[in-house]
Amino acid sequence: MTLSSTNPPKSLFAVDARTRKRNAAEARFRLYGLIAVGIGVLALIVLLTSVLGNGLGAFRQTFLQLPIALDAAKLDPSGNRDGEAMKKVTTIGYGKVIQTALIAEISQRGIATEGVSAKDIFGLVSKEAPAQLRDQVLANPGLIGQTITFKGLANGRVDGFFKGRVSMESAALDSNISPAQLVLAQQMRDAGMISVSFNPAFIFGSDASELRPESAGLGVAILGSAYMMLIVLALALPIGVAASIYLEEFAPQNKWTDLIEVNISNLAAVPSIVFGILGLAVFINFMGLPQSAPIVGGLVLTLMTLPTIIISTRASLKSVPPSIRDAALGIGASKLQSIFHHVLPLAMPGILTGTIIGLAQALGETAPLLLIGMVAFVREYPGAPPDGFFEPASALPVQVYNFTQRADPAFVERASGAIIVLLVFLVVMNTIAIILRRRFERRW
């Protein structure tokens, strides 16, 4: 090495080799960063387009619209509009009414039906439609004897045809639908009998069996998830914050607190299915809580969320400057007063952010719920809390899993639709987190 003083003086305009090398390294690093961000954004775009492309269709559904004369002789043989007696007429009876009305309407509109049997014409209607009509009539027996305009679900295959999922070629191979039926459906659509419109039942309705994907909805799953989130929030937030305050502010620094600290961090990394096994063993087998109930799901998810909340709460308590504690203690505030009056309000944004991130994590959790029976097929809505907490329900992520397990391709669309609903919930929760953080943030 020669001393710089022995070198000839250099111009400031000439970049030397060393500087050039450093600049090149910086440029390279920027490029790597850009590539990394690019890959991330690309992955997100692919994910969103695939989910939205598959799932948006679930929010629109094909409906048949036709006038139906509700014949008292068929629907209320006893004639006194008594609800109990009317229940004796099953969906098969209502199915026949729909079939008759449908064929009459088609011929009245002059749509040719050559080569399509009466049974095949009725096959365009969803198996759920007679139940829809029956519910409508049972809810309002006064309709009997009138002619109403009935808007019923079309069969899933017909729905698929109008959404591009089913083609003439696939119908030729399909035992559930024939090309002739699709031709008829197209004519009916041209005549205005069939339309595709927004389907609130996808969001508010309950799940449906394999045979009627067109009527499957997320109502029970959304309600179940909401109940579980309520339980998680009510349990995990106070327990987590109290535990963090104790550990951070009051607990003596010794082996035991170190051990607890290490274990809390480890708990945050425990696979969620382990919590499911724990829930099954403790809450269902030992404590005897009902299976598939939001209370058990909520308790399991509380256990899962606690470490997240404790870690973020402790971090935000730690980040409150000690000068604030000194200030409070210095004028004679007790430790508890200094924490609740000064430290906690300043730590609030961090605590809330951690809580909502924990909740969002819990909302999307599937594995532990499978083990405690929330994977069951549930059609009945759980009641209002607190009783509803103990009644069977489903959960959004489990519903997604359920839909993907079913054979009918129409459920692919339903699963993606359910994912969109789940994502919307997550976005809403994160937005709330950001708003709360902004509101509670204070300068010092």
Binding site: A328, I331, H341
Partner: protein, 265 residues
């Protein structure tokens, strides 16, 4: 130093507020304060001077048991306020700190309004019975801290929005709002500019009429300007303690002389 003449003020040494005898402080295994004996008189400004790390702040924090918050810190010996041992088991540090207020090195107002900053102490100690009474206390304290005229129109603005010097005076107002008997100040001017420092020093001199003030300072000029008695700490020992004028003009210990003439420290 011409400043010396300013401090030739009468000292009534008969009124002893705090007596410390044989005080030892340990941080873990480090012996931070060794055998300190000191008598702090009432209605006087006592300055603790000494090089960094000499233990003057540590000793100050012993006087209102702020060292209790540091888990590895251990204090032995006897410190008495008006003859009562403050390290006695029966003493609640919370009550003690209401009597022995503290102002810190860095201005640390609560991130609340100016009013709430001052009102917090009286509120938690239940010292006022009505809102009007509280308003009066707040105004009185802000006036004594020479801050009232600057903030009276924005009492509900955040305390953190004030300038550094105003914040420190707010902290002093907050500390005197609980009517303490002793006011401890840990380098109260080290974060302030000369003008703000002058204001705070003036304030300290006025506070002397009501409180016993103990001030830790790095600035020997400041000690000379504001204090009547000075204690010089070095390496955890109390080297010399006496009247300020005497310490600065005629130190008896060679270490004190080296420090005030700038040879050590």
């Amino acid at each position: 130093m011409n400043d010396m003449t300013l401090t030739e003020k009468p000292v009534n040494a008969s009124d002893i507020k705090i007596t410390a005898r044989n005080v030892q402080v340990y941080y873990g295994t480090t012996h931070a304060i060794k055998d300190v004996d000191v008598d702090i008189p009432d209605r006087t400004v006592t300055a603790f001077i000494g090089p960094s790390g000499c233990g003057k702040s540590t000793f100050l924090r012993c006087l209102n048991r702020m060292n209790d918050t540091i888990s590895i810190c251990r204090v032995t010996g006897n410190i008495a306020l008006d003859g009562q041992d403050i390290y006695d088991k029966r003493v609640d540090p919370v009550q003690l700190r209401a009597k022995v207020g503290m102002v810190f090195q860095k201005p640390n107002p609560f991130p609340k309004s100016i009013y709430d900053n001052v009102a917090y102490g009286p509120k938690i100690h239940g010292m006022t019975r009505s809102r009007a009474e509280l308003d009066e206390v707040v105004e009185g304290c802000l006036r004594r801290a020479a801050l009232w005229n600057e903030v009276k129109d924005r009492l509900h603005a955040p305390g953190t929005g004030l300038s550094g010097g105003q914040q420190q005076r707010l902290c002093i107002a907050r500390a005197i709002a609980t009517s303490p008997e002793v006011l401890l100040m840990d380098e109260p001017c080290s974060a302030l500019d000369p003008i703000a420092t002058a204001q705070v020093e003036e304030l300290i001199d006025e506070l002397r009429s009501q409180f016993s003030v103990v001030i830790v300072t790095h600035s020997m000029q400041q000690a000379a300007r504001v204090s009547q008695r000075t204690a010089f700490f070095h390496l955890g020992n109390l080297v010399e303690y006496g009247e300020t004028g005497h310490i600065f003009t005629n130190p008896s210990d060679p270490r004190t002389e080296s420090y005030i003439t700038g040879r050590i420290g």
